[in-house]
Structures are given as C-alpha cells and as structure tokens.
Symmetry: D3
Subunit: 188 residues, 6 copies
C-alpha cells in the first residue's frame, strides 16, 4: 500500500470515490492512499449517505484522503467501515500529538462543538473506498453547521503536510501490522 500526496488543488466532488479512480486519473495501481489539499462540493447525485441527501456537503479548503483497498473480492463494506473508524482514531491520535484535543462521535471529529471532519466508506464489487476530509478553514462550509478548521487551531501549512503524511503512514503501518498479526495467530 502506497501513499501519494498530490500537489494539485483538486476539488473533491464525490467522483473520486469511484472504484479505480486512482488508476484511471493518476495511474496509481494497487492499494493506495491519495491525499491533497483542495475545496469540496459534492454533486447531489454523488452523495452516497442516504441521510445526507438534500444536504450541502462542502468546504473551502480541506485536506482530503482517498483510500482504496483490493484485499476483499468483492469489496466488504463492513470491513471498510471498521477501517474508516481506525483512520479517524489515528487522525485523533496524531492531532493529540500536535496538541489538538478532539472528540469523536462515530466517524466525525469535533473540537468542542465544532465539526472538523467529514467521512464516508463504501464498497463495490471491485474494491473498498474511504474518503476523509479535514477542514483547514471553516470558510466555505455549510452555514447551518458549526465547523472549525485546522488553521484556526494554529496549524500552518507545514504542520498540515506533516499531519497528512503521519496519518497516511500510520494507517498503512496499521494495516500491514494487522496482516502480519493474522499470519501468526492460531485460530481455533
């Protein structure tokens, strides 16, 4: 599993959740974490959470993670949601190391009452995918939700890049370690 950080400011519009997006658009083959910084505005027809239908899901500047796994054929959405939770908890751990305390509710992180992240997991017959978006600024986020961004927590661009790198690497290491654990555990 490889991590690839894009320099380009792509807008996250939900199309990046499609299976094989990394292969088709970026020529990245196999399991991967693709990250970049950019705005978000999800097209209505691309919303995959039925409870979000009709809502605005957007942000002006966010750090995006798109993860794709191929180790379950067909993709297993239950396993994928467990991985999403692990990703969120790893982000929480890394933020704490940088002095930022967050509260987790399911797959959302909050600072006090302000929402810091959006996330979704999905699966297709081909692969499992996760999107995680972290607000860098509360500008451009929906008006009816109290939000906060990492820049408002005094992280600068360099800190944010380091955070992205650390979260991606810890996640890859966690998945690798679980694979290893499986090959050394007696089953019953």
């Amino acid at each position: 599993m490889k991590h690839c950080h894009l320099k380009k400011k792509i807008k996250y519009d939900g199309s990046q959740l499609k299976p094989f997006w990394a292969l088709e658009e970026l020529n990245i083959k196999g399991p991967s974490i693709v990250t970049w910084i950019g705005p978000m505005n999800i097209k209505k027809e691309k919303i995959v959470d039925y409870e979000d239908k009709g809502r605005e899901i957007k942000g002006g500047e966010m750090a995006h993670f798109i993860i794709e796994h191929f180790d379950s054929q067909p993709g297993n959405i239950k396993l994928c949601y467990h991985r999403q939770r692990m990703l969120i908890m790893i982000l929480k751990e890394e933020l704490l190391k940088m002095g930022i305390k967050t509260r987790r509710e399911g797959d959302d992180l909050y600072i006090n009452d302000s929402k810091l992240t959006v996330s979704i997991a999905t699966a297709s017959i081909s692969s499992m995918k996760i999107h995680l978006g972290i607000n860098l600024s509360s500008e451009g986020t929906p008006e009816n939700i109290k939000t906060i961004g990492l820049k408002e927590c005094n992280l600068d661009n360099k800190d944010i890049k380091k955070l992205i790198k650390n979260v991606a690497e810890k996640y890859i290491e966690e998945i690798r370690k679980i694979e290893e654990d499986i090959t050394k555990t007696k089953t019953m």
Copy 2:
C-alpha cells in the same frame, strides 16, 4: 450485544478464548462482552500467538474483556483484528478522558515505556473472539518486561469499574453505529 460484568475473580488462563465459553460457563447467549477483575496465567498450550510461545504471559491483577461476535459465519480473523484495534483505541480514548495519556503500538498500550495491556484476537468456524487484559498493578507480571498498572496511575477501584463500563458501552455503541452506517450507505 450485551455487556456482563462478573463479580467473581476468575483467573484468565486462555480457556476463555474458546468459542461459546460465555454460553457454556455463564449461560450468556449471543454476542457479548464479559468483563471481570482477576489474575492471569496463560497455560502454554493455550497461547494462540506463535511469537509468544515459550513466553510467560501473566499478571497479578488485571481487568479482563472477553468479546464474542457471531456476525460472520465462519469467523473472519481479519475483521476481528480490526475490531481489536478499535477496542484498544476506545480504551485509549477513555483513559485520556480520565487524565491518563498512553501510547499505542499496534494492539499494545504503553505509559511511557511501561506496558499496560495484553491483547489477542482469534476466530473459529463459529465466532470471533477478542481478549484484552489491562494491568491494574505491575505485581505478578513477567520480570523481563517493564509493566505498569492502572492503580499505579492513581485510579481506584471505583474509577476502574467506571472505565470498564465505559469502554464496554462505547465498543457496543461503535459496533451498533457501524451496522447502522452500512444500512444507509450507497454502494457502487
């Protein structure tokens, strides 16, 4: 999924990892978290981690969690290891709320350089099981490993019971929430 805290000081010897232990010994049917406080001394033939063969795995007083899931038939050890990681991260979150900062390496929690926990996940054709043991005291732990217990972090019996209850409830809620997420996510 239900949580059942035992008042009896059972010794954890590895036999509790067997499928249907909760049903056979405690008459608890279905998915469950069984918790109790007691010593640990794992019989050699009950060690399921091949890298632990020949090691002593023991403790004088520990908080034990035994989790059993039936939602994958046959049991899926990969899914089970993801749940184990979630359990450890939830414990870490709850300890932090009580003012105790820990460091996580895979499925182990440390306070500074001292090991606080032991944990294993396994699967059988019938179910998936997790054991988590948290040292309450470093007494009775193996001499060649630096360990620490929660009592040495100034948690008293009441705090520990609260911690056990909170971790169990958060875990159950997390699993329930993931099930719910699955029923509202469009797959591709």
Copy 3:
C-alpha cells in the same frame, strides 16, 4: 427487523426491488418487511427474471411484501432464495390455518390449477431483497394464465390484513430464531 404496513395503495412496478427503496421512499432504516395492498404492473426493464422477459406481469389488486436484508455484505443471492422459499412456505402454513389449502411449486403457490402468487429474490452489493405478491382478485392478471385471488377464497379485507400481519411476524420470528440457533450450535 421491523414490519411496516402502508395504508397507501402503491402500484408495484418493480422499482421497489431497488436496494434502499424503503430508506429512500419511506425513511425505514435497516432490515424490514414493507407490505401494502395495490395493483401490479412491472415495467419491462424492471423484470429481473430472464425467463419472464417479454411476459406481462400484472395484477389488479394484490397484497405485496418487500423484504430487505443487510446481514450479508455483499448480498448473497443463494441465501436470499432460501429465505424466499421460507417466506412462501410460511404463507402456505398461514393460509392453511385459515382453511385455504395450496400447492407449492418452487416459489409459486397454486389453488388447484390457479396461480395465487408471484415472487422474486435478488441481491446487490448492498442488500438482499424479496418481492412476494399475492392475488386478492384474479381481475387484472394476465389473460393467458389461470389465476385466483384470496377474495375468491372468501377472505375479506380484515382476514387479508390479519394474514399479512401474521406472515410478516412469523417470517421475522423465523429469521430471529435462526440467528439465535447459530449462537448456540457447536460447529465441527
């Protein structure tokens, strides 16, 4: 798993077989049986049985069951067809209790030589779905097939509502009991 009987006379046109229909249209989350009384006329492009292509599948007044299960990710069509058979056999049992003797051939019920029901099972990456339609009257059914309706067997509206309720409840109980059986059976 919940049962929800709709008062509205919806036309069954095959679109109700889509995954998440109950969530999107009725805001019912999780596994469910949705029932109602209404006509049927399946759009050609919605026919999922390849052998029915080109046939008319319709009825003037029918009792409809739409069942959705999420307990296999991805949906398992083999399991789903077994559940469909169980549903048909439960319907047969309940009809017999009301004095109506039927003959079963696969997933069809007949009274003498007249067809009483239509049914299909399907699966998607997200869920498993079953449709069962029971003729209340033979009016509006295809002319080239001999059909019969429950009203022609002297059941009145009250009886039919009771039948729908009983079949839904027995099915839910059967699925629940199987889940329970799994958690108490030693595997080998």
Copy 4:
C-alpha cells in the same frame, strides 16, 4: 445431489454428523441425503446444541436423514439453518398430503402437543450437515417430553418408506431449483 436409503438399522449417536461420514462409512462422494430407520441415543460429547447439554436425546425407532452439502467452502452455518427449515417445511407438506396435520415451531414439528421430530444443523470448514429424526414410535423417547410417532398416526412401514423417499426427492429438487433460479435472476 443423491439420495441413498440404507437397509441397515444403524443407531444414530451423533457421530453421523461428522463431515465426510457418508464418504468414510458408506463410500458416498459428494452432496447427499442418507436415510435409514433405526434407534437414536446421542453420546453426551456429541451433542452440538449447547442448550441440549445434559439432556437425554433418544428414541427407540426413528426415520433418520443425514444431509451433507459442499457448495459453500467453508461451510456456512447460516445457509445451513435455512436449509434445515426448508427440510422441516417440506416434511410438513408431505405429511399433510398423507393426511397428518402438524404444527411447526422453529425446527420442531408437533402433533397437537406431542413432539414428532428432532433436528440440528451444523457446519465445518469442509461442509454443512443436517440431521433430522422423525419418531416412528414414542417408545424409547425421553420420559420428560411428550412425544408421538408416525406409527401412532396410522402410517405403516410402506407409508413411511414412501414419506422418506418423497421428502428426500422434494428437498433435492428444491435445492436444484434454487440453483437454477440463481442462474436466471438479474442482480442489481
């Protein structure tokens, strides 16, 4: 899938539930229904239903069905319990054709308040197995349970053989038909 009726009066003692019993003992390869008439007395250590532990499970003269399926690798106990229900419902249908009305509760058939059958489903990494035993006489059954046998319903040996044959053939046909249904159903 083949049906093989044994002339020998084997005692059912639970060992017949082992995977590959038909191959090892009878040289029957592949999916099969093996039937015979004989007594039952299940060894304590062979009881696979944890709730039956400590109970006597026995009968003087019974019709036995042992079914083995290999179409899920590893065996899927959930699918197997659905097939067990189908088997019981087919038995109920065939008894009714012979004029014997029964009541079903889960996997048990009753005549009035008297228990007619015992049944269990199980799975191993290799296969899925079902046992169904039908009392021919209430003699030799446990004293603390009200039981009834088919001979007490005025079925003679010839009727019983016919019943066994019909149930086995209907079950095989049902499984075959489901396989066929799968290959002609559009999934979504």
Copy 5:
C-alpha cells in the same frame, strides 16, 4: 457445465462479457462455455482492462471462448483469474499435443515473439466470466503488435474445431474434477 459451439460468425465486441449474455442471447442457462469463430473489435467503452484503455483490441478471424460460472455468489474475481490461467495452460497443453510450442506470460500465449491470444477475466455480483480469443490469422490484428494465427501454424479448419472442442472439454473436466477433489479432502 456445458459447451456450446456456435456456427454463426459473431463479432466479439466486448458485450459478450456481460453477465447472462448466454442466457439472454442464446437461451443457454447455467454455467457454460460458448465458442465460435469470428472477428473481434472491442468498443472503447467495453474495455475492462484499465491498462488497455485507448488501445485497439481487434482481430480479423479468431476462435472465441466465453465462459460463465455461477458457483460463487457474488462472483469472485480472484477465483476467476485463477480459472483463466488454468484455461490458458490447458490451451497450451492442447496446442503442444498438436505440435505447436508456445510460451506463456501470465494470461498471454506467444509463438516465438508473436502474440497468439488475448484474454480477460471479470466478475459481477451475479457471475464470473472469462473471454479468450485465439488468432487464427494475423490479418486484422493491431499493426503495432507482432501477432500470429493458428492457420499460419498450419492448422486447418478441422484442426481448429478439434482444438476448440478439446480445450472446452478439458476445462469442463478440470472444473468437475476440482469439485470432486473438494468433496474428498479432509480440511484441518
């Protein structure tokens, strides 16, 4: 599993990879190998190998195999790729029997440096499918690839028909034998 050789010279354009093509177009139900001789020109939107996007995939006269399996629900692309490899190796074995020595690289056969075959495997929620095309002539193949056809190896129409028949029959026999092996192997 049945083999059906078509007399009609169908053009392979990728649409034959769709699940249920054999049922919809040819009324062939269940697992099958359909073979025919005809040209190939895959529509851009029908290319399923992402690395082939933008390439021309065509041939003037080829022997085509379309295989569909239903024994994994949902379809398992990993299993399907293993079957594709087996198919290619069986073709290689049969060609050798006819005196034609080939070299295999993954799922491609070469004679010296000239490409003899194209092949792809895919899966859907319904079934698993394989296409194998063997050049009969190098005419009509892409200009930028060195190709060869069986007629250029001195096989005549009769030889080619025999080859098609033998490969299909050996493949069916191999799958049947594996099924049989499963039912007689102790698992651990």
Copy 6:
C-alpha cells in the same frame, strides 16, 4: 510471498501440511513456499485424501514443495485447488523447458505410464496449504504403482535444484501477477 529452500533432508510425513508449520518449525512468517529434498512416508492418520486411506504414500527421495497462503480468511479450499492445478501446470512447463515431456491427469504428472508426482491441497480456518512431491527416484515408492523419478530422466542434482527454484519463482510471480490483474480490471 517468499521461497525458502531447506538444506536439511526432512522426511515428509504429512505433519508439514498443518497450518503454521513454517512459522512453528522454521520461523518463516507469512505466505511462503518451503522446498527441500527428502524421503516421504505419510502416517496413516495424516492422510487427508479420503480415497487414499489405507494406501501407502511413500518415496525414497523426492523434491517437496509446501505452500501456505493467508489471503483468504478463512481458507478457501476451492481457491486452493485451483492454485494446486496452476502449480502442477507450471511444473509441467518447466520440465518441458528441460526437455522432459509429461502428461497431466488432474493433479498428477506422468511420464508415459509412470507416476512422477503426488500432490494434495487443503484449507483450515487459518490458511490454505499445498503439498507437491516429485519423485527423484522410483526407489522406495509403493510397489503396486508404476513410478519414475527425475534422476531416471537424466536430471542431476544441479538440474533438480534449478527446477525447484524455477517452479517456486514462477509460481510466486504468477500469484503476484494475478493480484495485479485484479487491481486493474473493471468488474461489471
């Protein structure tokens, strides 16, 4: 996946088919091919092919391959048998390159009418395993079977080591290539 050739002349007695044998005995973690040259004499209770029960399975000097895969949890015997066939076909390809023509019947290779190999595949909840043994000499093989060894085909020790290395490497490459193919194939 790694290949490890042992210098020690271990006797293959069937115990090497146990899950985690490579980890327990050789400290090799993860998917692996372990090869060595040594005799074979399978203990009766270690025979996993029910049709081989009662037969002698032995050889004086053989090249052994033990393969273990962890990429299906639990192990899938169907997938494993497909891999076994691929292994045999790769051996056949490599032998041909060395000028030795063999005939394949299922999982056996023959030279004329003499048996060259024995092989079995199996699965457990933990992993999938394959054993392949190639006779180097016909000495020590069962008397009632016509056998042949590679040394009788004029391969010397150096050739045999090269063959073992090539077969192991080709197999590893084939598995790797299939994994890669999966991550670039559109499913339907």
